[in-house]
Subunit: 314 residues, 4 copies
Amino acid sequence: MVIRIGAAGLCRTDLHIQEGQWAEKSQVQLPYTPGHENAGWVHEVGSGVSNVEVGDTVIVHPFITCGLCRACRSGDDMHCENGSFPGINRDGGFADFLLTSARSVVKLDPSLQPADIAALADAGLTAIHAVKKAIPVLGAGTKAVVIGAGGLGHIGIQCLKAYTPTEIIVIDPSEPALELARELGADHTVKVDGSHVDTVKELTDDLGAQAIIDFVGEKGAVEDGVAMIKDGGFYYVIGYGQNIDIPTIDVIFREISFIGNLVGTYADLQDLMTLTAQGKVTLHTTTYPLDAINDAMNDLDNGRLQGRGILVPG
Amino acid sequence: MVIRIGAAGLCRTDLHIQEGQWAEKSQVQLPYTPGHENAGWVHEVGSGVSNVEVGDTVIVHPFITCGLCRACRSGDDMHCENGSFPGINRDGGFADFLLTSARSVVKLDPSLQPADIAALADAGLTAIHAVKKAIPVLGAGTKAVVIGAGGLGHIGIQCLKAYTPTEIIVIDPSEPALELARELGADHTVKVDGSHVDTVKELTDDLGAQAIIDFVGEKGAVEDGVAMIKDGGFYYVIGYGQNIDIPTIDVIFREISFIGNLVGTYADLQDLMTLTAQGKVTLHTTTYPLDAINDAMNDLDNGRLQGRGILVPG
Amino acid sequence: MVIRIGAAGLCRTDLHIQEGQWAEKSQVQLPYTPGHENAGWVHEVGSGVSNVEVGDTVIVHPFITCGLCRACRSGDDMHCENGSFPGINRDGGFADFLLTSARSVVKLDPSLQPADIAALADAGLTAIHAVKKAIPVLGAGTKAVVIGAGGLGHIGIQCLKAYTPTEIIVIDPSEPALELARELGADHTVKVDGSHVDTVKELTDDLGAQAIIDFVGEKGAVEDGVAMIKDGGFYYVIGYGQNIDIPTIDVIFREISFIGNLVGTYADLQDLMTLTAQGKVTLHTTTYPLDAINDAMNDLDNGRLQGRGILVPG
Amino acid sequence: MVIRIGAAGLCRTDLHIQEGQWAEKSQVQLPYTPGHENAGWVHEVGSGVSNVEVGDTVIVHPFITCGLCRACRSGDDMHCENGSFPGINRDGGFADFLLTSARSVVKLDPSLQPADIAALADAGLTAIHAVKKAIPVLGAGTKAVVIGAGGLGHIGIQCLKAYTPTEIIVIDPSEPALELARELGADHTVKVDGSHVDTVKELTDDLGAQAIIDFVGEKGAVEDGVAMIKDGGFYYVIGYGQNIDIPTIDVIFREISFIGNLVGTYADLQDLMTLTAQGKVTLHTTTYPLDAINDAMNDLDNGRLQGRGILVPG
């Protein structure tokens, strides 16, 4: 199936690809086109396609899956044994057209604009996937620390509010990001300024939080995060860059756990579109024309990008 | 409540205490008496005790808990806010008598001998606790790698067989330990000899196992374990010594998780006593008189101890 | 421990006791004092009590538990093997004083007034307990039908909103009750007027709802409820009076389940007090002096009681 | 995809179809061919089929699913919004050939004979599905009552043993069925003779069992089953015929739950084939030629059929 791209989100992973962090993992052949967060309109379909028609507005699940392996048959799309990942290991959506499959598209109301929702295809999807894993941990009276209120984090905060009664503490070095977090319902915001771990400890009666939801994973986030977990608590790893480096004695003595998160399932994407339609999740984005992609990447790298960056073909 | 010690198990943690790994965490005052794996007979009770009488044979849950805090009210004994840990941060059971509380004792059939079951109080309890966490992961067609078939591991293997239909792969450097693992029902045993990770990869179709149950946590176990997890899989941290040191990009790209485990609950101990009474768990031990404790510790440190070491007061 | 009663809630169960529905089950000796939903101040304590002091404001968990049996050790208070139930099988709180135990009291901020929160001790506790069971069923895009927006139902609605993103449909014969439901956040309200099942079917695309949360359980509620469940869905039984009477072929063909709910745990009560302190749950009550109890019971029986009825000793 | 039938299992549902219990639900057009438990060899495939080839030995999942709806995308095959059910609402496998889809077949080792495993396609699948739901309830020290050791029950017993450490009590009116149950590992067998409920109560310390797994659902099974549940326990409804008819006051006072079960998922069928390959599940069958189907149905109706009846085309 060919999608005419309406908008493609820019992700910290695109920076990490440029840095070479993904070269060995993706084994992608250069040159290729990144862009793994896509929405647009169906442009061309194969003969067997029954779920959408040419012209339909769609958001694109980032993974192309086979539908037949054990993972697919269990609803665990990201672990499809035969999957491929446009924008990571084959051509993606920083382009006019994208090749994907019928299994990867979610049909949307025609009134929706791709630029308004493209960022849900990966940033939002990853955030909701991690939050759904945390639901059993986050009952009444618990606290969750969200590290990073950027492209993923600002959606994560809204998912936490939709799914749980936990008290939300957001940490971020950027004052405007914290301002956005407060608007979206964070109970406490703490500026990352060196004293932030102590401030969070105070907010948690020196015990720490049941869940750390780390959308950053670099620049000291992991050490900070580990210091803020409550004994018996859980650390959700979403952002990446740095190592987790912790003595096993601390893992057992505090009985803490680290939970990996890789994007999300097709059902997660449907759920997120539902929350968006219900007004429980709203996206904050900054739009660039596709040919200004280098400006966008610079802004992202330097913390000047509010919400998620969106690229729109000319 | 005072227990007359019938037998006390010797644990790798007792070596780690001697090495100083616990000094900062436990804040124990020296000199003190270790021994956190105890069974014996009730020697003296306070006026309010209703669940046991003087002379009853009991196994002692290793943590003394308050019964009133949120953790206690939720059945999560090890996270009692007011707990203390005989043998770790106060005097333990390498002695003739042990001070504990009525909440910590499980009454046993008088025919049971403390030396035969003492090792269930911590080694067994820790093993069953970790295995119970792994049940949802270990359905039919899955594989679990058990690292270490010693004091904890040989009980873990039996718990895996009792609770799950998973295929069990055991790795250990000791041939007699692997022999014991086979007797207890391991489906595959692999000697730790440098090629063991490759062998396990072959046994798992190059995909790795859904669960790594690591009873060692040192001497390279963690690197090996990480290399053997299937994407989407879980690593249960039980043994300790070494660091977990892993790039967050691997945690997310493979969506793997690390689960901490701290001893077990009172209900876990009851469950283990039930499995033992049903013959589903049997202990393999080597007994020493209490005053030969230094020999026992040497044997443990040098891998000469089969099953669990048990100290019996003279 | 003796509590000076500040307020006691009136429950549909008190009507059912009068009708004789509980005589055989409770085996209570007549005469006795009902009242199982109590709050007040600690009046007298035994020597071993450490969690509260005379004068403390408390809400009383309705079950007196032993703390030592398997259920208690697992946090499953209501199935204590040695429990007793003031107001059901021994003297309760429609009185000046109540005898209970230290394990049953939750200490409150002294600024709280018993009359404002007493109804959380049973009505609220039962509602939150059922809602917590339903969390895994009620993801984004699901629908829940709440049957009855009275004493329990109006708290259930607020708990559903706090814990889940489900779309809430409330049915009730009383227009003021539906008005209250809308204020508390119900997404749809449907008057019970004979066409209500059809209306709910329309609201659920003719498929029914993933969860029916039935706070009524009589006067046709069960037939209505069964007709409104989605295939694969769950029926939470809370109110009672009528029979569930359903062919097993329907249970299997539709794969529907019926989940019993009995009051709630001590931890549930703590959770509810937290949600109340956070303003996520507010109680709607009508207060009567204790000696007007017969008027209160008449009002309840005739659907004239808004929210929960509260009796206050003179 | 066309399957050449190697064997088709006979099910109590085939009797219920003849009795007319399914007429309204299935809306099937008469005449039609029943047979919903099929195995054989791939006879013809469409152009897009990649998972099997002509000649492959396969077992057939009984439901034909679309692969695109929410249920399919979540691994919940039986609730496919576009599914059809050969043998129930369209032509099934009591025939030489069966029309199904590529999504419904599980490829088997060519050495397997369809007659040996066909009964896993529905009887076995339904049994494993129900047992997998019961895993969280059936820890060490629990008891499960299996009602009926026939075609489904004898597989259910083996699944319980593979997945849980529960103590298994089997009740059945037939002595040979109980004999089979004992061979397969039942811990206790009780003949249905009028005193069986009392006997089970004694075996459960007068408390009842945590789980009732009812493969019968008629002839008094439901009343018996309800009388044997422990407070807080679960009743798994699999067999059908009779009504569940129980006062809601009993459901709440005892906090018991009834769980519906409809066949099983594709992943459940894979799991069952794995357990069979590992020797953890073995089928007990009685084979008839396809044209002796009326004899087979008579034997089933009169309790003369040991294990599962299998029809083999001539």
